[in-house]
Symmetry: C4
Subunit: 222 residues, 4 copies
C-alpha cells in the first residue's frame, strides 16, 4: 500500500495532480446526486497529447471517495504505462477513442436512474433527440435553445473494444449523434469536453435534460 | 488572475462584499437542490440606487462554487462599470428592469426541473395560477392561503433586451402576473425581493409549489 | 441586535440551550430534505411544566439556519414571557395545546411536498389511514406493522386559535386520529413526542410513509 | 453513560473499531439518501469467526448519527456477549444466519421508499427478478448485464427468529433467490458482502435498481 502510493504519486506530475483533484471533486458531487452509486462510472483526463497519456480512474473504486491513488495512466492502447499500477476500467478504450478522435480533454461516464431509463425507452429509435430547451445552450457549441441535439444509444455489450471501434468510425464520419454525448442501453451516459470543467458541465446539463424528459411529455421524435 | 482579483476586490465595497457572500451562500444551496446545474442561472443584488449599480454573477460560472471574483458591477444600461471586469450574463437587462421598475433589491434566476416542465405545460394558458396552499404566504405581501397568485410565462428568446422591454411595460401597467415572479418557457424561473434573503425565500417557496403542482392534480385554471 | 442577543441568551438556562441545539440540528436536516423550505415550519420544546414554558422558533426564520437567538419562550397563553423577545409564530397555540393536553415534550411542524399533496387528496375522507408497513413501528406505542394509524386532516384556516380549541377537544376525547400527528389541508404536518429526538423520529417516519403512499397504490381507505 | 462508554470501548478491539467506523460512515450516507430514516435499519459486521462474534447496531439508534457506543457484540445465538451492553435489534438472528450460513462478513439492512413499494408490488410473485441492466455487475459474482437476478420477498412478521430459520434453510438449499439479497414485504432490504465495503456497494446497487424499476416499465416477470 505504501509502496503503491509512492509509485502512483511519483507518476503524477503537477498537471496530473491538478487533473486528479478536479476529477475527485466532480466524483463527490456526482455521488451525492446519485449518478455514480456502487462504484459505477469512470472518469478520465488527457495528461499529454504526444504521446497520448490518459489519467483514468482505476476499476472498482467508489467514485464519491476517490483518492489520488485511485487513478491509472494509460497509453493510446489503453494499457497502463506502469505495470505496477491498478487495473484500468474495461471501458478504457472508449475514453482513448474520445481523446484521440474527438479531441476530448476529459471524458466522464455516469450511471444515473434517468439515463438508464431513457436509454431503454428510446433504444428502438437509435438515438435520443432533445430540442427547444434553454439548458441545451450549456453544451459546447450550442448558442440557441432553438436547436435539436441527437444522442446516440448503443446496444450494451461486454466487448467494449468492439464498441470503441464502432464509436471511432462514427466520429470519423462526423456523425452528429456522437457530437456531444452517447448513451449505452441499460448502462449509462458518456460525455466529454475540452477540460474537466466542461465535461462536468455536460454531465450536469444532460442529467438535467434526461430528468425533464422522463418526468414530462417533452420528447419530440427525430 | 491576480490582477483581475485585485481589481474586482477593490471594486467591491463593504456592502458589495456582504451581498456577494449572501449570493454565494444561496448559490451553494440552489446547486445542492439541483436548481442551477451546469452553470445555469444568474443572481444579482442592488449595490446602490443613485446611480443604479447592480452586482451580478459573471457569465458561465458554476453557481454552486461562486467566488468573490465571479461578479460584475453593471450600470443601468447593463454595462460593466469597469471594462476589465468579466462579461455579465446576456440576461442582465432583465435584472436591471426588475431593480429599476419593480424596486427589487435582489433578483434570482434558476433553472429547475419543475419550473421547466410547468413552463411548457402551461405556456398555452399565458400564466401559471396557484391558489389555496399555505406556502403562498411565503411570498411578500400574501397574508392568507385563500388567494390566487399568477405567474407569467414568457416565450423563450435569444433577444433578452426585447424581453426586458416587454417586462418593463407589464410592470409599469401593474400587471399582476409579474408581481412576484415569472417563468420563461423551457428555460426557468425569475423571482426577486427587497433583499437577497427575501429573493431566496421566494425561490424556495416557488420551487416547492412547482413540485407540488407537478406531482399532484392541484392545478386550478385561471 | 447585540442587546437582543444578550436578552435571549440570558433567558435560556442550560436546559433551554440544550433543547435549542437539538432543534437547530433537526432544522438543518429537515431543510436539507426539503421539508421546511422558505422559512416554513415551526418547532418547539417544553422548558418547564409548572408553570408551562415552551421554547418555540420565532416567526419568519430560515429553519435550516436557526441560531440561538431565533427562539422565543412563551407561557400557556402562547405569549412571550419577555416582551422584548421576537414575535412567536401565529401557530403557537397549537404547540401549547399539544404540550398541555397531549403531554408532548416537543412539537415539530413541517411543510413537505408529500404531506401537502396527501392532505389535499384525502381531505374529503377526514383523515389519512396507514396500515401494514414496518415503519409504523417507529411511532411511539406501535409494536407491530399489523395495525392501522389514523391521521386527522384539518381544514386550513388563518384562525389558528380556533383550530387549537378544536384540537384540544379532540385530544380530551381521546380521538385516535390525533394520537400521533395531524395534517392541515394544503399546509403541512404536525407531530410530537416526549422529547425532541422522539418528535424528530416521528417527522422522519411520517414523511417516509407519505412518500411511499404518494408513489404507490398502498392507500387503504378507513 | 460514562460507564457504558468505557465498557463498550474496551470491548472493541482494533478490528472492531475499524469495522464500527466503516459502518458509521455507511450510515451517514444511507441517512443522507433517505434509506434509513427514523432510526430504521440495522448494520453488522463479523468480528471473529471462531467463535462467531458479530458487531451489530443497538436497537433504536439514529443510523445517520451512530457513535462508537451504539453497537453490541453478539454471539451465534444473537445474545450480547456482555450483559451490560445495549439491547441488540429484534432482527439480530437474520444477521447471524447470514454470517454463519451465507459466509457474509457484513450485513446491511435498509428501509427505503422504493424497496418498500416494490416489496408490496411483487410480493404475489414470490420474488423480484432483475435483468439486462449494467448495474447488476456491481453484485458480487455477476460478470455480465445479460443475466437475471432473483430477490426473494418474504412476508413481514414480528417473529424474526422464525424468519431466520426459514432463511437458513433456503441458503442451505442454495436457493438462488437469497444469493445476493432479500426483501421483507412492506419492510425493507437485506443485503450482504464479504466485508462492509462490498455490502455497502450492494445496498447502493440494489437501491439504484429498485428506483429504475419503479420509475420505468423495465420489470420482466420471472
Amino acid at each position: 500500500m505504501t509502496l503503491q502510493k509512492q509509485q502512483s504519486e511519483s507518476s503524477l506530475d503537477q498537471n496530473g495532480r491538478l487533473l486528479s483533484r478536479q476529477i475527485i471533486d466532480a466524483g463527490k458531487i456526482f455521488f451525492d446526486k446519485n449518478w455514480v452509486l456502487g462504484t459505477s462510472g469512470n472518469f478520465s483526463a488527457v495528461v499529454s497529447r504526444e504521446p497520448l497519456r490518459l489519467l483514468i480512474t482505476a476499476s472498482g473504486k467508489n467514485k464519491g471517495e476517490l483518492g489520488s491513488d485511485d487513478f491509472v495512466i494509460v497509453d493510446e492502447q489503453g494499457k497502463p504505462v506502469d505495470p505496477s499500477m491498478a487495473k484500468p476500467s474495461a471501458e478504457t478504450m472508449l475514453h482513448v477513442v474520445l481523446a484521440k478522435e474527438a479531441g476530448a480533454g476529459s471524458i466522464l461516464h455516469t450511471h444515473s436512474v434517468y439515463s438508464t431509463i431513457l436509454s431503454k425507452r428510446f433504444f428502438g429509435e437509435d438515438h435520443l433527440s432533445i430540442s427547444d430547451l434553454e439548458m441545451l445552450k450549456g453544451l459546447s457549441g450550442i448558442t440557441t435553445h432553438d436547436t435539436r441535439v441527437k444522442i446516440k444509444i448503443f446496444a450494451n455489450t461486454q466487448d467494449m473494444n468492439e464498441l470503441a471501434d464502432q464509436l471511432a468510425k462514427m466520429i470519423a464520419h462526423n456523425d452528429e449523434s456522437v457530437k456531444h454525448a452517447f448513451l449505452i442501453c441499460g448502462h449509462g451516459l458518456y460525455t466529454w469536453g475540452k477540460d474537466v470543467a466542461e465535461a462536468r458541465r455536460h454531465i450536469e446539463i444532460l442529467e438535467f435534460l434526461f430528468e425533464v424528459i422522463h418526468k414530462s411529455d417533452l420528447y419530440t421524435s427525430s
